[in-house]
Point group: C2
Chain length 278, copies 2
């Protein structure tokens, strides 16, 4: 039986594209929010969920980080890096010169700002809830409209692609995590995600905590902070390190960190697709 | 002449409330975006700008962080902490039992979710662009509407407050920064904000960099990471430390950090209103 993967819909979103790239055979379950995608796995309606976690231009996706921190049932078992290439599309009888309005998600409009200013200087830009919704709005618009979305949305909605790769910054990419009831077995090139916090007023503890990794030669990939919801100035730290939680030196470092932190949650170990060293 | 302070409008937003608390005598300049508020200071239309930078529940305000990183003309010269207390308000002839729709900014609706579920279980929730806009939409609605906004919005729009302090989490507070052409003189209880990044693949450098503060007994208040826009896995770190950039040990630590970082920008020193130790 094909694996069932939940994703942030509707059909044609970049999250669906990431899910398809991750497992072309999977049966996809469209969900209306990131939280609902994870809930589908918890309730058994899906086997795995694909969630956007960071974009190279926009930064962290707060809803996914908060979900990882506050839920306790799912683990990260994979990551997917998807280069984001925007297309501008219209109905088949539309000529670019006649376009008076362009629909897209606000983040996509922002990522194509220079292209639009050059090529569609007089078009009004209208925000849609998703890139897929933008294509639908373009098709039902009473004006001569265009929409910005991925190539997959153009195929699904049978729209005519006017131009490809219109993003201003060619390094536009989104990282997704795959969540499930269990994480992954060691492969030799893995990454582990974790979150932790400290009691109030523990000066220098963050440096000591990060030192537990550095001193063991464990590479730190990223660090994010999120509010604890207990007042300003209290944070939960989210860290990605190289290595699997079953690796001896990673297990050692996590044990040492457990002694420093008031909360430590290992969010999962999984094969890494992208690495960096900070 | 009264100081001119630009803020994210329209009138009645929490940012306006923060600006008024910071300087009750100031003449306020309403701007339509965070970037426009800063631009008003650069162009000379305002003396200072008040910008939201983090909320105790929602976390960092990415637009403000990116503005701080990518602009080079303004410095942070102050911070303001505003407790956020939401009110629910309606027209004077509206009875709470008749309310069928509630307007507010999505973040405010989320912050009052439990209250609304208990007290307005059948009302539809509709997103507005700002709390102030929500009050206007409530007043021109054809349905029996209510709106969630601050007490100041109720006064400005002469709405009837149905209930006070309806936020689910009482520790809801927003921190704002005050930006101007210069930062502040030392007061003895100051904070310094800075941002920096490293060349690609510099393992352990973040720990060494933060150690420059910890080893000198300089307290770290917070750390945020933002994308460099040069691809996944490259980050700019934003750090708040205790002390003024003119303090000898802070100046020493900044000099040491300059030797490690490929970019270091001191965003300003200013009297601190809130402190924490990580």
């Amino acid at each position: 039986m094909a694996k069932r993967i939940s994703f942030l819909g509707p059909s044609g979103t970049y999250t669906e594209e990431a899910a398809t790239r991750y497992d072309p055979e999977a049966s996809l379950v469209s969900c209306s929010t990131i939280t609902a995608s994870a809930q589908a796995v918890i309730s058994g309606d899906a086997d795995e969920a694909v969630l956007p976690i960071e974009n190279s231009l926009g930064g962290a996706v707060a809803e996914t980080l908060d979900l990882l921190i506050h839920q306790g049932e799912l683990q990260i078992r994979g990551e997917i890096v998807l280069p984001i290439h925007h297309c501008i599309m219209a109905k088949h009888d539309t000529s670019p010169a006649d376009v008076t309005v362009v629909y897209s998600h606000p983040q996509s409009l922002a990522q194509c700002r220079a292209y639009l200013a050059k090529n569609y200087p007089n078009a009004r830009l209208i925000a849609s809830l998703s890139n897929s919704a933008a294509v639908g709005e373009m098709q039902s618009s009473e004006e001569t409209a265009a929409a910005i979305a991925g190539r997959r949305a153009a195929e699904l909605y049978k729209a005519n692609v006017l131009d490809l790769d219109i993003e201003d910054n060619p390094s536009n990419a989104t990282r997704f995590v795959v969540m499930a009831h269990t994480d992954s077995q060691p492969t030799g090139t893995d990454k582990t995600s974790l979150c932790f916090d400290f009691d109030r007023d523990a000066p220098g503890t963050l440096v000591i905590a990060l030192g537990e990794f550095a001193n063991r030669g464990i590479n730190l990939n990223k660090i994010e902070s999120r509010p604890t919801r207990m007042g300003l100035g209290r944070y939960i730290f989210m860290v990605d390190i190289d290595g699997h939680r079953q690796d001896a030196k990673v297990a050692d470092a996590l044990a040492a960190l457990r002694g420093l932190a008031s909360m430590l949650k290992v969010l999962g170990s999984y094969p890494r697709e992208v690495s960096s060293s900070i």
